[in-house]
Symmetry: C2
Subunit: 221 residues, 2 copies
Amino acid sequence: MPKLRVHALAMSLDGYVAGPDQDLAHPLGAGGERLHDWVFETRTGRAMIGESGGSEGVDDDAVARGFAGIGATVMGRNMFGPVRGEWGSGEWGDDWTGWWGDEPPYHHPVFVLTHHERAPIEMAGGTTFHFVTDGIESALRSAFAAADGADVRLGGGAATVRAYLRAGLVDELEIAVAPVLLGAGEPLFVTGDGVDQRYECAALVAGESVVHARLTRVATA
Amino acid sequence: MPKLRVHALAMSLDGYVAGPDQDLAHPLGAGGERLHDWVFETRTGRAMIGESGGSEGVDDDAVARGFAGIGATVMGRNMFGPVRGEWGSGEWGDDWTGWWGDEPPYHHPVFVLTHHERAPIEMAGGTTFHFVTDGIESALRSAFAAADGADVRLGGGAATVRAYLRAGLVDELEIAVAPVLLGAGEPLFVTGDGVDQRYECAALVAGESVVHARLTRVATA
């Protein structure tokens, strides 16, 4: 069975996957970009932004696993762009095609969760953004269909990952614990979500800059 | 200057240092003992409970650092015993001398924070329990005086560590992140405590069973 997988989800030591006070200038919240510095120290992470060099090793492998065997991606709108509410017009509205330039690093269909309809956007390199307005299960069904037997990757943000975790739809989740204290922001784990009932930490491995925790489903669940 | 140090403070991947529903039968809360399993796999941890064997390596070193150069310990009453409120009488009251048997593994003065007065208890092997009723700063002053130039170790529980962190009195804190999900319980990091303002994660190192994060004071604070 194809799986829904989360990879390289960066979390601070104090449990936040984004900082507080997210806005147009700080889409990851105050200090949130520090959670992701390690990605751009790796070879795979640098290639994602068109740069060469970077480290190989445990951290690089963790970034690379997020692209291996993946046929489609689901993400929240907050990961696609910083604007909330109606799309509006112009640079931050109906002209916005994501953070990743003309050729996004996905190279497959990407399903963006939103409450506001929008026509698909076909980008260079095989990425097409589809906008899904009828919920997380519908988006996942479309993604599995588009992946055609391959796995589906679940991107961020925090609210999207939590929604899929609460619904028990995530098969594997890899968290990158960064040596960062944010003090406030968007937590990944919230009491009542029941993640401890459905998942277990199958591995905890140190990389060069971060520590990688792998959650898998509890066998009996 | 002598330091106040926290060592081997076990935290679940989802941020809890004790489980929910603490009571007499579950002093660490539901599932909380799973946070500490790794200690008793180490040579130093096994020696603490009078057993031989156990691993050497990164985890063992982390346990051993908690005894090196320490001249006194401060702990919350919840770490000393499971009973709340007045001491009462009998096994769980005025006969209670801690979890550690006749010869506790401290071998130095231990200052127990409580709202309820009690005479000191002198144990075999050099440990004396003193009960401090006038607050965390008073306990720390007494501990530094008793340590006579050596460092002071701060034990648990969660509320005690958080109180000293909020007051900015902790100099170094080593957390052991365990591959465990508890889902609920006593968190270490709480928004508003300001730990992110005063401390930084200076190291994040994998042991055999857990990951060790070392927090030190921010240089400019």
